[in-house]
């Protein structure tokens, strides 16, 4: 029996878990996938939005601005990369120039600091690769970029260090409120019981909500296709470049990533398919066409991969973070689409405060606010490298040549709290396999390390859990080992 069960180990669930871990409370996160950060959190624009998009007075606007402000301290506490590179909303149609002022005014009302409307010349000076058609731009210096994997993983790790349990490969099948007043959660891995449930199930939040409430929720999966470009062109723009927003969202952006790639996307295609995160030719074509309206001569021959993510979109386009009226003790964290990544620390805090009041929680005296990330060898001097290798020779072996990731970093990723168990788990924690050869070189080597360190036979090693096994079986006449 737990005081709190959180459903979903994405960025929202993990942020809530971290905030809950401040208190004297027993808490557990149930996650249907084999790792944290497996849904919407792993496939998005990786942007820390300034906060001028959301409707003034909305929860979305409030948590966006709060989350943005929390990000500096949080990135230091959790040792994750975060950069305020600033963002530009670019106007390329003269007749739409007033739209920048509308955004500016909304941003000011939302409490966004430092906004400035730029002339064509000012915008081009800031970003020479903007389209020749640029008429003006809205500059937001507080806009930033973050690694969504590391943010999600770091919050989850920190929660785990502070006592929150995580159950992976555990899918919630049904929830009943018993006569004992407790929630009985049926999963594929047995029953879990808790006083309070936090529903942070992303695109599945409607399904989970509807298990306990007569007031039905419906989430639309809004797919976004993306292209990721090589680091060679990572500085093609230095700010995040947005078009002017439409009713479908913030449009196709072009941005550097915090690790030095260039990211282009997303589309906004409404589906009724919670697992429909496949890219389509039409979607990818749309990304290139739309991005090219704002940034000229995009170096598309440097694309190293494409992917798609699903936004958990509610018709009313607002975050729903509240106790469900006909299910006391059940808190929805639903409709967390953009700017959900930005808002996540504020979402965590809001839910933490709700739980504190609701359950009369007291703070732990020994709560650990910080977490050390995987030691990166990037940028180390020869002397620093040698000191590291002397201490642990595994740092002397490069496993991923594209991103220069050492075996030492991979071992760290596997053996830390909530460590990696799959190729994608290693990739999201270390970047091994995320470079231009897309794991062609390192995947057999990473498999070797996973096999050795976790005692998982090759046949059982997966790309990302479930049935994503990399290989099928031994070749003819070979004995299977371990």
């Amino acid at each position: 029996m737990y005081d709190v069960i959180i459903i979903g180990a994405g960025v929202s669930g993990s942020a809530v878990a971290r905030e809950v871990s401040r208190y004297n409370v027993s808490a557990c996160v149930l996650e249907k996938c084999e790792d944290v950060c497996e849904g919407t959190s792993k496939a998005n624009s990786a942007i820390v939005h300034a906060g001028f998009d959301a409707e003034e007075g909305s929860l979305m606007a409030k948590l966006n601005v709060e989350g943005n402000e929390m990000m500096d301290q949080l990135s230091r506490d959790l040792d994750i990369p975060f950069k305020r590179n600033g963002s530009l909303v670019v106007c390329v149609h003269k007749e739409e120039i007033d739209g920048l002022k509308t955004l500016y005014d909304r941003g000011v009302k939302n409490g966004v600091k430092g906004l400035k409307i730029l002339t064509r010349e000012e915008a081009l000076e800031m970003e020479p690769n903007l389209s020749d058609d640029v008429e003006g731009a809205l500059y937001a210096p507080t806009g930033g970029i973050v690694c969504p994997f590391e943010l999600n993983i770091a919050m989850a790790e920190n929660a785990n260090m502070n006592g929150v349990e995580f159950r992976f490969n555990t899918e919630v099948e049904d929830i009943k409120k018993g006569e004992d007043g407790l929630f009985h959660i049926r999963t594929n891995n047995g029953e879990y019981i808790s006083k309070v449930v936090v529903n942070a199930a992303g695109v599945y939040a409607d399904k989970i909500h509807n298990m306990v409430s007569a007031d039905k929720m419906h989430i639309i999966e809004r797919r976004g296709d993306y292209l990721l470009l090589d680091k060679e062109v990572g500085n093609y723009v230095s700010h995040t470049i947005f078009p002017q927003p439409t009713k479908y969202g913030k449009g196709v952006l072009v941005t550097p990533t915090v690790h030095g790639n260039l990211l282009v996307g997303p589309t906004a295609i409404d589906l009724e398919n919670k697992e429909g995160n496949n890219t389509t030719a039409a979607g990818l074509n749309e990304v290139t066409a739309k991005a090219s309206e704002n940034v000229k001569n995009l170096p598309l021959r440097n694309v190293i991969t494409s992917f798609a993510g699903l936004r958990a979109h509610l018709e009313r386009h607002e975050f729903v973070i509240e106790e469900v009226k006909d299910a006391k003790g059940f808190i929805d964290v639903a409709g967390i689409e953009s700017p959900g990544l930005t808002a996540s620390p504020a979402i965590g805090k809001m839910v933490g405060d709700m739980l504190k009041d609701m359950m009369g929680l007291t703070e732990k005296s020994d709560w650990i606010a910080t977490r050390k990330g995987i030691k990166s060898t990037e940028g180390l001097s020869i002397d620093e490298m040698n000191a590291l290798i002397k201490e642990n020779p595994a740092y002397g072996t490069i496993v991923c040549r594209c991103e220069s990731i050492t075996e030492g970093e991979i071992l760290d990723a596997i053996h830390r709290p909530l460590g990696a168990r799959s190729l994608d788990g290693v990739k999201r924690r270390t970047r091994a396999g995320m470079g231009r050869c897309q794991a062609g070189f390192c995947s057999p080597r990473t498999m070797e390390i996973i096999n050795r360190e976790l005692g998982l036979s090759y046949e059982k090693i997966t790309k990302s859990g479930g049935k994503s096994n990399i290989i099928l079986e031994r070749t003819k006449g070979e004995e299977s080992h371990s």
Binding site: N278, I382, P393, T397, P444, K463, I471, L472, R474, K476
Partner: protein, 422 residues
Amino acid sequence: MKTYDIVIVGGGPAGLAAAVAAKEAGNDSILILERDHELGGILNQCIHNGFGLHTFKEELTGPEYAYRFIKQVIDLGIEYKLNTMVMDIAADKTVTAMNREDGMFQIPAKAVILAMGCRERPRGALNIPGYRPAGIFSAGTAQRLVNIEGYMPGREVVILGSGDIGLIMARRMTLEGAKVKVVAELMPYSGGLKRNIVQCLDDYGIPLKLSHTVVDIEGKDHVTAVTIAEVGPDRKPIPGTEIRYTCDTLLLSCGLIPENELSRSAGVKMSPVTSGPVVNESLETNIPGVFACGNVLHVHDLVDYVSEEAKRAGENAVKYINDGCKAADSSDVIEIVATEGARYTVPSTIDTERMSDLLTVRFRVGDVYKNSFVSVYFDDERIMHNQKRIMAPGEMEQIILRKTQLQEHKGLKKITVKIEKE
């Protein structure tokens, strides 16, 4: 750390042959740096035969071919370091490398030979839409898993791309009991050797569909089906031509990319056509004393040619050191221009003074040519006109230039290589 005259980056066929040649040319201060745990490079996973017909006049497997050179390296006492990754090559030829035992170290070399080979084009660079499940491999990764690690990726296979590794893997997977359903090739011609199409596809009844590409990949966790479609002359899929294959594995053999990250950061000038360094008759890059050979220079289809080319790089590196590490005099060089069907040449400039008596110039054509002529012009005068029954992009072509021939043409500025119908 000990210093060396010549540092060779890569211990595959190119690096090995360059090392042996440099040693035989009289240099005793050579170090090979190899990132894998053994010498031989990609040959170690190429367990099929067909290697060495030119070099040794016999048919060897990849590991056998590699071993011929590894044995020479060992017998000649050439030093090498395994499990060692070169992290950086500076313009002054200081090589920074790293391994578990030595840590990170720097070697100021007099000459550097680039022999890093190439890598395969991944799915992402091909912009194939669909899911991103397990079960998608580059053909070379699958080859390593099957031949070195001893694991089968799957049982029902679709292959995109008809590069040689893909063709070889079609046969290999078939021999291991898998069903290879189709090989789809975007271009109207194969990217591989004719002999591989015959021996690896035709002999096993595996269909090759030219002008086809993958338009969808199904399967959330693991590949469950792949859809291919015919492409038009613009290489865009033609609606209505889709064919869906249920399968658990998709192999990609869609081109090889010379692995020149180190060359680029050193400041080596690159050819946009080959993605390899621009070199002169000595296989020397724009940085004096930095030479390139093998697939890092341009992608070869026969290892025999790699060995031959690497031998020249090794010899020229020694010559460069023996001549006092002087930059070549660039005032009197002849430019080689590839045009009208010829895509590029290696080398792309010749200094008649420094060239050997016979110089092999290799190139590839950009399309399939039947009963056409390879023509060579010295300035405006056609001096070579050789008919070939068939030329294809998948098969490397060559011409041989004689030093005396060039010397006879006083004031020669430009050699042009082109394909002519008559």
